[in-house]
Symmetry: D2
Amino acid sequence: MIVAMNADATQQQIDHICERIRQFGYTPHLIQGEERTVIAAIGKGDKKEHIESLKSADGVEDAFPILQPFKLVSTEVKKERSVIKIGDIKIGDGGLVVMAGPCSVETRDQLLTTAESVAKSGAQLLRGGAYKPRTSPYEFQGLAEEGLKLLAEAREKTGLKVVTEILNAEDVDLVEQYADILQVGARNMQNFELLKKLGKVNKPVMLKRGLSATIKEFLLSAEYIVSHGNPNVMLCERGIRTFETALRNTLDLAVVPLLNELTHLPVVIDPSHGTGKRSLVPPVARAAVAIGADAIMTEVHPCPEQAWSDGPQSLRLEDFAKMMADLQPYIKLRQQAAAAA
Amino acid sequence: MIVAMNADATQQQIDHICERIRQFGYTPHLIQGEERTVIAAIGKGDKKEHIESLKSADGVEDAFPILQPFKLVSTEVKKERSVIKIGDIKIGDGGLVVMAGPCSVETRDQLLTTAESVAKSGAQLLRGGAYKPRTSPYEFQGLAEEGLKLLAEAREKTGLKVVTEILNAEDVDLVEQYADILQVGARNMQNFELLKKLGKVNKPVMLKRGLSATIKEFLLSAEYIVSHGNPNVMLCERGIRTFETALRNTLDLAVVPLLNELTHLPVVIDPSHGTGKRSLVPPVARAAVAIGADAIMTEVHPCPEQAWSDGPQSLRLEDFAKMMADLQPYIKLRQQAAAAA
Amino acid sequence: MIVAMNADATQQQIDHICERIRQFGYTPHLIQGEERTVIAAIGKGDKKEHIESLKSADGVEDAFPILQPFKLVSTEVKKERSVIKIGDIKIGDGGLVVMAGPCSVETRDQLLTTAESVAKSGAQLLRGGAYKPRTSPYEFQGLAEEGLKLLAEAREKTGLKVVTEILNAEDVDLVEQYADILQVGARNMQNFELLKKLGKVNKPVMLKRGLSATIKEFLLSAEYIVSHGNPNVMLCERGIRTFETALRNTLDLAVVPLLNELTHLPVVIDPSHGTGKRSLVPPVARAAVAIGADAIMTEVHPCPEQAWSDGPQSLRLEDFAKMMADLQPYIKLRQQAAAAA
Amino acid sequence: MIVAMNADATQQQIDHICERIRQFGYTPHLIQGEERTVIAAIGKGDKKEHIESLKSADGVEDAFPILQPFKLVSTEVKKERSVIKIGDIKIGDGGLVVMAGPCSVETRDQLLTTAESVAKSGAQLLRGGAYKPRTSPYEFQGLAEEGLKLLAEAREKTGLKVVTEILNAEDVDLVEQYADILQVGARNMQNFELLKKLGKVNKPVMLKRGLSATIKEFLLSAEYIVSHGNPNVMLCERGIRTFETALRNTLDLAVVPLLNELTHLPVVIDPSHGTGKRSLVPPVARAAVAIGADAIMTEVHPCPEQAWSDGPQSLRLEDFAKMMADLQPYIKLRQQAAAAA
């Protein structure tokens, strides 16, 4: 259930409510709004008598059940949009953040060339996989820690922050040392042990939607991370698996405004995996900006023909530069709308 | 195969090539480009010896096979984009055309109120179903000819052109008298007899993508209409059926640039059926404009709560007006891009 | 709603109830059970006061609402299984009926050779398409009436009954003259005008499930036919469209017992379209018998390599003979179970 | 590539070929057939010159490339069916093995009651989850090691072997101590780190197909386990996610014979998750036997209404007993066919 405190509720009153919530068998989560404190009491079955009892406590304005199966991530519990800060970068504040880089970290030269170029074109984060989840055991599995070190070097050189994928709960400590955002791939969206570990991490997490995950399942996976202690989760739509094989995946762009209704978490769009086809990335990125995505993530490679993975969907350096230029007027429209609101 | 004539080929030369194409067992289709005439020779198996033979004929610049299974609708056969004219309205010229109106024509008052309002807000075409394909035999099946007459009256009053659905080959003659665009619904995308009849009609056709139709099947259904004589076909993406049930359908927006690569036919987006949810229609329409759709079609009703069908996805009159205002800067960006190109 | 009459209700009482049902604005459908007459009153909204009023009428045992959206085809309205008779053949009586033959009627020789062979192997019905719904306008579209005549000739020669596809409402009169069962293909499952016409026909209809049709939609399409007057409908599962492309379709075999719970109509399984692969047809047919299908339909061709359509999924004559022999013990198990029940 | 040795090849010759394979940069895997030894050389790109070179070596009968992306699990590499032995139980030898038990291990009483009953009815393995992958963080997550201990106790009491799910690479050592078969759930089918660890385990693994996994992906996940050292893998089809929501999943039964063509690994069918509906489990189990599944796994609970998970799809103890009795004639048909072959 949700307990909304009065605007002038005292710390003592808040503590008391948390105590009572625990007595009833729920876990209290404090959400500090600009005006007031809200306490989400998470547990099985919002019992009517508990709600009634809390309603009449001192300092409480109102108490009511949470209808959605996802709780902490829902707009029922927190209406204010979450803004995730990575240094100076803010994801979720109305602006557009761009993440770009190669599918896999392959070589020092490949990574630094790409990083310098995308930084110049206006990207704020560098992507690149050091651990690669590959369908076949015979495919390139990533450079592991060596790749992480190269990402850190590129960050040093370019000022770009780093987002990179984590595959296993066991690697959390290591990857956390190098990455600014920890990415959970589509195939791991329901790797619940990994999600629980990421709930203990002090870095933002980007959770990609599973290939056949419903929106409800997607948000419940985010709930795993948040309920285990890490509120800095962003959701990434990267295309779902459907009957259509003309493109690699079917990008479900309409979920951006749908998620904005259901959750306060920021939403990222990945037009590269969403289409699997280089020429479609720029128009799809344009649509992502127009529909209100908080960030986009695109794959960029100095020479896609020679990429060790995902070549057909990787932009060339100059493609990315052109796309960024083309996106500017759309980004401006967003800023004007945000300023007007 | 395709036979590209010289820019200065004579009519006699063109006739001669058509004659030889027929002798080889193909059907010739003339495509009059701005610079030159191209002849598409359609038939089973592009035989190498036929291509070689035509290459050396007078007036022929080149001859080559068509690789795609769809022929006349493909950009292999015609690179120039098709522009469909309905009175002063042009669909496919780089601008954005807006079609709006109720799901079903219900009453004179409902239709005229809607028509006047959407016209004022900037729509160019009025939509409204007189024949309704309903999942259950016990649901409202449409007003039939009475509905068509009301649509004609609304056109008279507002200057809006009319787009309406046709369900059966038998109704073509009747519906053609009233409609400016004949719409083929998703459930009829592979009603091949209907498609063949629409190939003989002198009105443009809007073909909606089937719920589980691949892009190849979609284009082959368009090919049915075009190969039977009617080149004025536009394609409408309205959402496909996937595992996701959070929304009515999954709108496959990335097919807009994909179709632009594969076909010269204009592309329409239907954000109403594509989402099934009123609040998502405006942001999705914005994305449709940004990604390059030639037209959008949205359902509008004076009182969606009382609509006889599709209420939850219908915009109120004022919602539509607001959406149209919000779309203006995005439409301007399109016009600037078109002017620059 | 459903009105169950007393076992000894008089004709006059039944007529009176039908009259009252009409006065209330519903349409009465009489279902003559072995013990009693049941009247299904179909119309919008089962009003409580109407149900109460009818409950107290003479000759009425009980009256209650129909919960499913499909009415006449549901087991709520009729518990007894429907048995469809075509001459001596009974579909739905617990036994297994086998339909076999080529995808398309190609030549007299091809059809007669196949018919004689499958008859000898134990098939009871001959399948063969005279009208072919083809994805591309450039593919073989069927021999039309000439094909129907060949089917009739094969029936004459072999005693096999004939099942063949009907594509258009306009062809109903013609096809009805030749066919013993009229087949509605997957792409026409929601061609509602065709369904309505087939409701007026005095021949059984086999309705194939659409590629992306839910079970509810499937049964509502059957309801179109039954509610327009033709109770002799059988349902054919032929595979649905999913993300999996290893096989042509995903055969949804579990719907056989599900349909048996929801409807009294017989269920047919098509392992040929359900898999698209010849070698899988016999094991899948075996599973169809084991799971309780009332009939199976398989494609058979004297020389699949030369078939004009569906070669890869067509059994050779000897494959079919072998499959029929292998199915015998499974058919016997069914008969024993039916006898025991 | 595959190198088939002569029937009388010496150990020295085999060692020599393995050595050469390593020199070429491949990894050799020995497959000991009844008649001859086959060496699968796994690595990137089967180079023609390597194949030619090995062909002419002493003791080699033939060498040829492996066409499928999955290698060690494919029938290209090993034609003989793999039989997995768990004590006296053989999975893959033509007979039918039955695994049954509750979704989750809940209490000692629940587990022992179920185990004794299913053992009496003829099951050979007991299933039961101690670690539960749950969509929501607020749902029951399993009893963990306490559950494993109860499973071991039930094994002791009933003689049933134990199959249980493993969620994380970190738990492998623990679960291995208790389980006879380690189960990888659908959501973990592409948890590649877990698969690699299971490649080092000395217990058989049952790999469940992912909700949207293609057959190729399914076999490549099995390849991960086998190529890391564990050949005892069985594949479990448990239903895929499609547009159809009438049942929990769409059980893809036709993959049983398809997998039998592609791989030598045994195939298990799970009618409980495949349908999600108790009443459909027995007919679907019957079909699974008829189509050739090597084993079936069904959920059974003493009181499904009170089950902590999966109640609607769990059989009651008496349902399971009845199903087992009904399956007997179908199992006999299988044995007769196996004896005849």
